[in-house]
């Protein structure tokens, strides 16, 4: 049963410099208990997509006519894009859908203790007393591995180290028992040994809470370790999607292949690093046709003229490329 259905999501921004397309016709779905990785570099549109799920984009965002985001929560289907009033949005923001960010300092107000913020968040979404909220919060802090939870509850964000802050943010996000957790680069700012701890923690929590996670990152290694399925984005387009195993072992889009080749891998020190030639184009100058053709080694004239449709490479694995579709004899 699909928890989240994103269909034909198109997002443009009206700026001084013109209309910029940030997300172009993106569709994917996420099931409960599943981790979907959303991978991309700068300008890929992954963060914007995530924010759209909670309608957090600025006012100059223009959604496409066909775009729809549907949340299915316990027999209640919510059309996110049509939500307007503050009260309706509150259900998704922090209630059924929670988000954790890259920079934990950004999530916590500096002058209010962590405990107070967690309690406030809880009471916004659930009708419980302050005492109950405090209990739940301290329990959550403990659950995420913060020692001395009741003491930390009263501390301020700056008193905690980076790793602990991130755990506290996870605790805060999960205290409302959301059905969908959006994690926007949650480990990017952490040291690698701390990152390993936090990834472990998240995997345990997924098993326990059974929520769906949309894990956004540029780090394919982290995705390989945590996600079930992965979607690769480039310049607003979703170029490849599939199970983690399929996409990493059999990448079917030149961009995915390029990314994997460019990554330094510890178990293969002899192969030289292969960059993807060229630079990521500015969103103001999106290439025509296939959005990747300007940097693709296999580009043909038709790649410049028309946008490739998705071809299926097996069990839920699809990619949008004319050439690989032909090579692998699929449609």
């Amino acid at each position: 049963m699909s928890l989240l259905n994103v269909n034909n999501l198109t997002l443009q921004f009206d700026t001084d410099e013109g209309r910029i397309t940030a997300v172009d016709d993106v569709s994917f779905e996420l099931n409960a208990g599943e981790v979907l990785g959303l991978v991309g570099e700068s300008g890929s549109g992954k963060s914007v997509t995530a924010k759209a799920l909670m309608k957090l984009n600025p006012d100059n965002a223009v959604y496409g006519d066909q775009s729809s985001i549907t949340l299915t929560l316990e027999d209640d289907k919510i059309d996110v894009l049509s939500l307007k009033s503050g009260k309706d949005l509150q259900v998704i923001r922090g209630g059924a859908v929670s988000m954790i960010f890259q920079e934990p300092m950004a999530s916590f107000a500096p002058a209010i203790s962590i405990g107070d913020q967690m309690v406030e968040q809880l009471r916004l979404h659930k009708n419980i007393t302050k005492r109950e909220a405090t209990e739940i919060s301290i329990e959550m802090l403990d659950r995420v591995g913060i020692s001395d939870a009741s003491k930390r509850f009263n501390q301020y964000a700056f008193e905690l180290s980076g790793g602990m802050r991130q755990r506290a943010m996870i605790a805060m996000a999960l205290s409302t028992r959301p059905s969908l957790l959006i994690a926007d680069e949650p480990t990017t700012a952490l040291d690698v040994t701390i990152q390993a701890q936090v990834i472990d923690l998240m995997k345990d929590l997924i098993k326990e809470f059974g929520m769906g996670i949309l894990f956004i990152t540029h780090d394919l290694g982290v995705i390989a370790q945590t996600a079930d399925r992965v979607a690769v984005m480039y310049l607003g387009k979703l170029v490849e999607q599939g199970s983690v195993r399929d996409v990493i072992k059999n990448p079917s889009h030149p961009y995915t292949r390029g990314l994997l080749n460019a990554l330094p891998k510890l178990d293969d020190l002899d192969t030289p690093l292969m960059p993807i030639p060229g630079d990521i184009p500015s969103p103001l100058e999106r290439p025509q046709g296939c959005v990747f053709h300007t940097r693709c080694s296999m580009a043909e004239p038709r790649c410049m003229q028309s946008v490739p449709a998705y071809s299926s490479f097996g069990d839920g694995h699809k990619a949008a490329c004319f050439v690989t579709a032909e090579q692998q004899g699929v449609s």
């Binding site: 570099e41 700068s42 180290s161 980076g162 790793g163 602990m164 040291d191 690698v192 040994t193 701390i194 990152q195 390993a196 701890q197 990834i199 472990d200 540029h218 780090d219 394919l220 290694g221 982290v222 390989a224 370790q225 983690v244 195993r245 990493i248 390029g258 990314l259 994997l260 080749n261 460019a262 990554l263 330094p264 891998k265 510890l266 178990d267 020190l269 030289p272 690093l273 292969m274 960059p275 993807i276 030639p277 630079d279 990521i280 500015s282």
Partner: protein, 346 residues
């Protein structure tokens, strides 16, 4: 532990000549305090001895608080040295960096340069690219005429694969990767021998990272450079460096040629660091050796071996006594009381 318990430098003279050598180097900063409050000393670099061979691509790895950036800056005389010494010797000149007189310092600056991390902050938005690259030449008085300057700017820009027509543009016209190339060109225009690259690819997208790393590698061959490559990313270091030194909380814990280090790491921290890197193989999950606890604050480091609070193999002596750097093979040094017992079959 009985054999050759020495600082590893002297025994390396048979291997390629060291360009720059740090001997028991310490760097500390006063922090906090005001008019009346007492200042605390933060030991960013604590008694580090390290030799960077000439022509090498030397990697320096560590997490936050490891002191790697400070060490790099100290080697460029951009951080206050509170103990120990640094020697620079490139075959033409030899300097003792600690008490360097001003005239010699100027000369040293021509030979030792820094590439910054953030391509967006490292370039002045008000100067054209040509001026940015030319600045070191003008400041250090290396070229005498404008033509000479232009000539050198063009030459290094071409080597860094920058389009010459773009020289009259301002930084806002360029992407992250291109800006980093401008940064590199600026660092190399004075023809240095020693370049410190401080997290120079950390802020770049993966596909661009590989490009810049390859550029650094090819420039090394072309211009006979020696790099000190500072990074938190062990996989990047593994691919591009020929030597690696691992730091933790201001101390050097292990140093070895890259292949050797990855084949047989000896220090528990090095092992943990390596296994913490998420593998790209989805079938290899849960093999990591997890390190518990947080990185201690550098202002309040643990006693004895600084790593003991998180080390899975701590025994009493680890809490009391700091391990010295033991030499265990060709250029392979490790600072751990128990490395011998802990290294089973590699």
């Amino acid at each position: 532990m009985n054999k050759a318990v020495k600082q590893g430098i002297d025994t390396h003279s048979s291997v390629s000549q060291a360009l720059i050598t740090a001997d028991k180097l310490s760097v500390q900063f006063p922090i906090g305090g005001g008019f009346l409050r007492k200042k605390q000393m933060l030991r960013a670099v604590d008694d580090v001895s390290l030799a960077i061979p000439k022509g090498s691509f030397f990697g320096l790895v560590g997490e936050s608080g490891s002191g790697k950036t400070t060490l790099g800056r100290a080697m460029l005389r951009a951080a206050p040295i509170s103990g120990g010494s640094i020697h620079y010797s490139d075959g033409e000149v030899s300097y003792n960096l600690v008490d360097l007189p001003k005239t010699e310092l100027i000369e040293y600056r021509k030979r030792a340069q820094l590439i910054f991390q953030d391509p967006y902050a490292a370039l002045s938005p008000r100067m054209t690219v040509r001026d940015i690259i030319a600045e070191p030449l003008e400041v250090m008085g290396i070229t005498k005429t404008r033509e000479e300057t232009d000539e050198r700017v063009r030459s290094i820009a071409t080597k860094c694969r920058l389009n010459l027509e773009h020289l009259r543009r301002f930084p806002h016209a360029f992407s992250g990767g291109q800006r980093q190339r401008i940064s590199i060109a600026r660092a190399l225009v004075s023809n240095p021998r020693f370049v410190v690259a401080d997290e120079s690819v950390a802020a770049l997208d993966v596909s661009i990272q590989a490009d810049i790393l390859n550029l650094l590698k090819s420039l090394q061959e072309e211009l006979q450079l020696t790099y000190l490559f500072i990074s938190h990313d062990l996989s990047v270091v593994a691919h591009i460096c020929d030597h690696v030194a691992v730091m933790y909380l201001g101390r050097l814990v292990e140093t070895a040629p890259t292949r050797e280090l990855f084949r047989a790491p000896r220090h528990p921290y090095t092992k943990a660091l390596m296994s913490a890197i998420p593998s790209l193989d989805p079938d290899q999950r849960g093999n990591a050796q997890k390190l518990e606890g947080e990185i201690p604050s550098p202002t309040n480091p643990p006693s004895g071996c600084k790593f003991h609070t998180r080390c899975p193999h701590t025994i009493d002596i680890c809490k009391q006594k700091e391990p010295t750097l033991d030499h265990l093979g060709v250029e392979h040094d490790v600072a751990c009381h128990r490395w011998q017992e802990l290294s089973g079959p590699a």
